[in-house]
Amino acid sequence: MFGGLAMSPRAARLWISSPPLVYLLVFFAIPALIMVLASFRYAGELGGLAPLVGSGDPDELAGLTLENYQRFFGDSIYLELFLKSFLYASTTTVLCLVLAYPLALTIARSHAKWRDLLVLLVILPFWSNFLIRVYAWMIILGPQSAFTRVFNGALGLAGIEPVALLFSPVAVVIGLVYVHLPFMVLPLYANLEKHDPSLLDAAQDLGAGAWQRFWRVTFPLSLPGVYAGAALVFIPALGIFAIPDILGGTDGLLVGNVIKQQFLDARDWPFGSVLSIVLTVLAVLFAGMAAWVARGQRL
């Protein structure tokens, strides 16, 4: 009856890993292939894709083409777009790391009975909708909010002209950091929590100061957590479009917005696919790099 019990370990492993594999195949590999195919086709006159096999009309666009890629690589504006998105995503990642590290360390070193509660508090923002949280920042950063008034009041004391916070690159970065922070805290905490405290005791016995203990023991050991967190923050931040749409000013455009534009306003699925593929390739490269570096560290 339980034939599975007689399976070879290899078959059992395959059997157990089949649900996620099927999931990845159906929801990642196949759609990605469809997108690759779409990127080599012409846009349909009314949106969608032009047919693969034409009706014989010489004016009709049909079949496969490299045109969409030529458009991408032949125009510096799209390169600028990616560079800008890259810059925003990197800034977000660095700021998240700087903010998340002390927090994760505090949670990991706190008394066991508080830890679960503190981790829960980190996850708590997920209980309300992402868009509502971003809209809340519109109010906080708006020119009439208490926060903005105090901020500009402080600038005034220092003799600096008041600034508009909402609809600016600063607002976009604040939104990006806020939304992605838990994705940095959790892997860092998971890593730091496992550190053996006796290592620090040993370092202290050997004469290492507080800073040395952190920099030469804790931090190197936490690098896999840092890389995992960086990948979890950098990759989604690279493709996001809602935050620049809502909080960004007149130059808040990122690559995610242009992809959305291609599918919605421009009705150009092939070019939207090209942009998505370039983004996916960059994201996979980055994730691969993070995984590679993380593995190297564990040796």
Binding site: G47, P143, T250, L264, D265
Partner: protein
Amino acid sequence: MKMLLAATTILLASLPAAAQKQEVLHLYNWNNYMSEETVKRFEDLCKCKVKQSYYGSNDELLAKLQAGAKGYDVLVPTMGAVESLIKRNALMPLDKAKLPNLKNVMPGYLNTAFDPGNTYSAPYAMSITMIGYNDKKIAELGLPTDTWALIFDPKLLEKLKGKVTVLDDQRELFAAAARYLGYSVNDMDEEKLKQARDLIRKAKPYWAAFNAQSYIKELTVGNIWVAHGYSNDLFQANLDAVAAKRPFGIKHALPKEGAVLALDAMVIPKGAPKPELAHQFINFMLDGRNSADLTNLIGSGNPNDDAQKHIKPEIKANKAVFPDAEMAKKLEMLKDLNAKQLRTLSRLWTEVKLK
């Protein structure tokens, strides 16, 4: 106890039956484009439920249908999008015998080039894209309001730096620029589009944001003093400002250079689950009193002759909602663009927004 059990059983048994009996009309509509009262009145009449879903732009509606969305009975796209849907063979012809109220629509809004003979569409309401402003601030600054110069001319914008939003919509913003430059909104000549791009780029440093979502709120709160927006939204912004007892009002003005007129029409998509109910709804909305609600409650322009007598006199007198004959000549509807034109426009739009 037995009584209670029996009552509960009866109640439980009757619930699904009641839910089954009641028909549901699936209406895919613009946000804030039908008042609660009107919905209620139709539900009472048809003994059915109206279930509305919303879209924020024609492009969103078209993209969603293109991607295979189904189950809607009535859509309310703008005429340019109606044309596109007809070309895609996505609409069901209307059965005019079931729409006696179609005769209420003014002849000028019937039989347009977008849908000759109104085979597929019945006019719903109109909006005009114009300029909304904080009346107190603009009076203080002494700026003119009846011209697109208010959002495009750096000389005027200097006094408004960071207090202006424009629509986050490639068609609408380029159309406003085209009218300001003296061109037709449907002129897709690349040279002229480039002039529009340059105009936009010169004005851009003075704008706070491209905004099609929250400008009503920003105007009402007083964060923004001038917004490029739709007449209905600006009407709403003023109602909100009055309700919140702000020390200012939100007025709207029609630029003398002309503007985009959006005539929205009701259509039935192919494969609609309830075409019978859909016709009943369309005929209901063509009734003068129901149509007048659209103007009285949300400030839409009204193509329905029978509705005019039900419209509040103060709205009737508002030239931005009911433009005079001379102004009406300068209003244009946006035509559907072909793939090549869209591509050109999209490239310029990316450029405008990137730097």
